[in-house]
């Protein structure tokens, strides 16, 4: 393959222009959407008759309300707008145009509370409408005195209770108002800053009679649709199927994962990618970054060396790899070198006195051996810094020296190098300064998030929606 002089990953912007939103393949998104709708139905079943969706402007309240309206079924929902005309709303949220067109839309911008309540009566009395969205209720309610407002709200509750319709109130009032005490459920939509990136979160304050396994969830409005993320689910490795190789991308090695390739644009030969992770990131999430490049390297006729994370189960890794690839390929061109396993260090005496240099020598020897077997002499080295840090806690300078030498050697031979680095590593900043690319993984609200620091990328939720060995990345926007 052709090689490039520069190191580092391809800039994200290129991917953006060519393929649309990175990491948001249509299939990935479709799967997430199904989960979302199911999730919303779950929220809205049973005793939840009235729901308040609150939050500041631009936090996604209307989109969520429209998703719930959509779940009501065609012709069984009504949208009462006191803020925006239908045509404008369709322009603001084009993904919901069909929903708006298939449901009743009442424009009450110039109506008073009496007319609005009359509209609700007209909708609820025939008992055909299942969901009514009031966007926004406080736009009208602010014109009423406190006591009058409370009574009007009680009227709405009584109408909803009798008709069986679900009443969704959208509100921009951040504090608790009278309606907070009356409704069965309260969702608050917020936008928080996470590592200089905006992340959307919804908080379930109340959901009467419904088990709430988690109070906060992250969500995205990618493509104008509401998609929320449940806590990270460990993939079912029994469903690993034979891997279909992913060819090089314009002279770069593929990550072996469409989502990672879309995010980073492939691995430029000779580059070092550092993956920083915090202590809450589950190992299978790291494995989703660790294994696809290894599998693809082997599948492409190349070789790979893995120095696994502490606590990694080599048998499990082997079992996954041999499901994805021919057993002979794995046995022939992959070396798993466990630095805490004495047999891997060739002599039982070595472990007590082993030095970073000795480990480096073993890695160099293995690299040379495997290079011979690689179709184009290139080798992928995937290495856990944490495992080495633990082993050489009293001699971190030597470890850094050896790592630096390795980075230079691998760059010269156009190999690929991926380092897994814990967030609290004492040598973190020095490793990062030597790396050509740098991505971070962390957990928020149970969801594993990933973003590129170098190059700068958006922030993505990591899930396993298709292949258990590979990540599905959905951008948080």
């Amino acid at each position: 393959m052709t090689t490039k002089k520069s190191t580092g990953l391809k800039p994200l912007i290129q991917v953006d222009r060519q393929r649309g939103a990175p990491g948001s393949g249509a299939d990935d998104l479709a799967e997430t959407r199904i989960a979302t709708v199911l999730g919303l139905k779950q929220f809205m079943q049973g005793p939840i008759r009235t729901l308040l969706i609150k939050g500041l402007a631009g936090t996604g309240k209307t989109t969520v309300a429209l998703e719930i309206l959509k779940a009501a079924g065609k012709g069984k929902g009504a949208y009462i707008s006191s803020r925006v005309a239908k045509e404008l709303l369709e322009k603001h949220i084009p993904a919901m145009k069909n929903t708006l067109q298939s449901q009743e839309f009442l424009d009450i911008r110039l109506e008073d509370a009496t007319s609005a309540l009359d509209f609700v009566m007209q909708l609820t009395e025939p008992k055909k409408i299942r969901t009514i969205v009031f966007d926004s209720w406080d736009g009208l309610a602010k014109e009423l005195e406190q006591k009058e407002r409370l009574r009007a709200e009680k009227t709405l509750m009584a109408l909803a209770n009798n008709s069986g319709a679900q009443l969704i109130f959208v509100s921009e009032e951040p504090g608790a108002t009278t309606i907070d005490y009356l409704v069965d459920g309260i969702l608050e939509m917020v936008t928080v800053e996470e590592q200089d990136r905006a992340v959307r979160e919804f908080i379930i304050h109340k959901l009467r009679g419904t088990k709430i396994p988690q109070h906060k969830y992250l969500f995205t409005l990618l493509e104008g649709k509401f998609t929320f993320f449940g806590p990270y689910a460990i993939p079912d490795y029994s469903k690993v199927s034979k891997f279909i190789q992913k060819p090089d991308i314009d002279g770069s090695y593929s990550f072996g994962s469409g989502a990672l390739d879309r995010l980073f644009g492939g691995i430029i030969p000779g580059s070092t990618l550092a993956i920083e992770y915090d202590e809450n990131v589950p190992y299978p999430a790291l494995r989703a970054i660790e294994l696809p490049p290894i599998i693809n390297f082997l599948s492409m006729g190349r070789s790979a060396i893995l120095l696994p994370l502490p606590g990694a189960n080599d048998e499990r890794t082997n079992s996954i790899l041999t499901k994805a690839l021919d057993e002979r390929i794995v046995g022939d061109r992959l070396r798993i070198l466990n630095v805490v396993r004495t047999s891997d260090l060739e002599t039982t005496n070595l472990l007590k006195n082993v030095t970073p240099n000795q480990i480096h020598e073993i890695v160099t020897r293995e690299t040379t051996r495997l290079r011979e077997k690689s179709k184009d002499q290139s080798v992928l080295l995937v290495k856990s810094v944490s495992a080495l840090e633990n082993l050489f806690a009293s001699d971190l300078d030597s470890l850094l020296e050896v790592t630096s030498q390795e980075i230079i050697t691998l760059a010269q031979s156009h190999d690929a190098h991926i380092l897994f680095l814990p967030k609290d590593s004492p040598i973190r900043s020095r490793i990062l300064s030597m790396s050509s690319s740098y991505a971070k993984l962390f957990v928020r609200d149970g969801t594993v998030l990933m973003y590129g620091v170098k190059p700068h990328t958006g922030i993505y939720a990591l899930q396993h929606l298709e292949d258990p060995t590979s990540p599905s990345l959905t951008q948080l926007v």
């Binding site: 009566m121 009423l144 407002r149 009680k154 009227t155 109408l159 009798n162």
Partner: protein, 106 residues
């Protein structure tokens, strides 16, 4: 006072009581919306028909609460003692209204 003028007085008092009773529970906008929805904003509602319409909108429990509020308002306007009427237990709006109307006309 003649029987006719007593009947007219009762009709006005009853209409006012309907507004007053509904206001107290539903608020002014709620009451106005209910009466407008029932097309009874300006007409004296027939208690039986009124009951049926309330029932369709609010269901039994809320309807009984609203009707009790109307009866209480009416009795207050007539300066009657509330304990003359049975507002607890099996409450029948139409029957109660008939009793009050008969009492006014006597």
């Amino acid at each position: 006072m003649s029987v006719t003028s007593r009947a007219e007085d009762f009709a006005t008092t009853f209409a006012n009581a309907v507004h007053g009773g509904l206001d107290k529970v539903l608020g002014q906008s709620g009451a106005a919306a209910v009466l407008s929805h029932m097309k009874m904003a300006n007409n004296l509602p027939d208690p039986a028909e009124f009951h049926k319409k309330l029932l369709a909108l609010f269901g039994l429990q809320a309807t009984v609460s609203l009707e009790r509020a109307i009866v209480k308002d009416l009795v207050t306007r007539l300066r009657w003692a509330l304990d003359l009427l049975n507002l607890e237990g099996d409450f029948d709006f139409s029957a109660t209204m008939r009793r009050i109307e008969r009492g006014v006309k006597r």
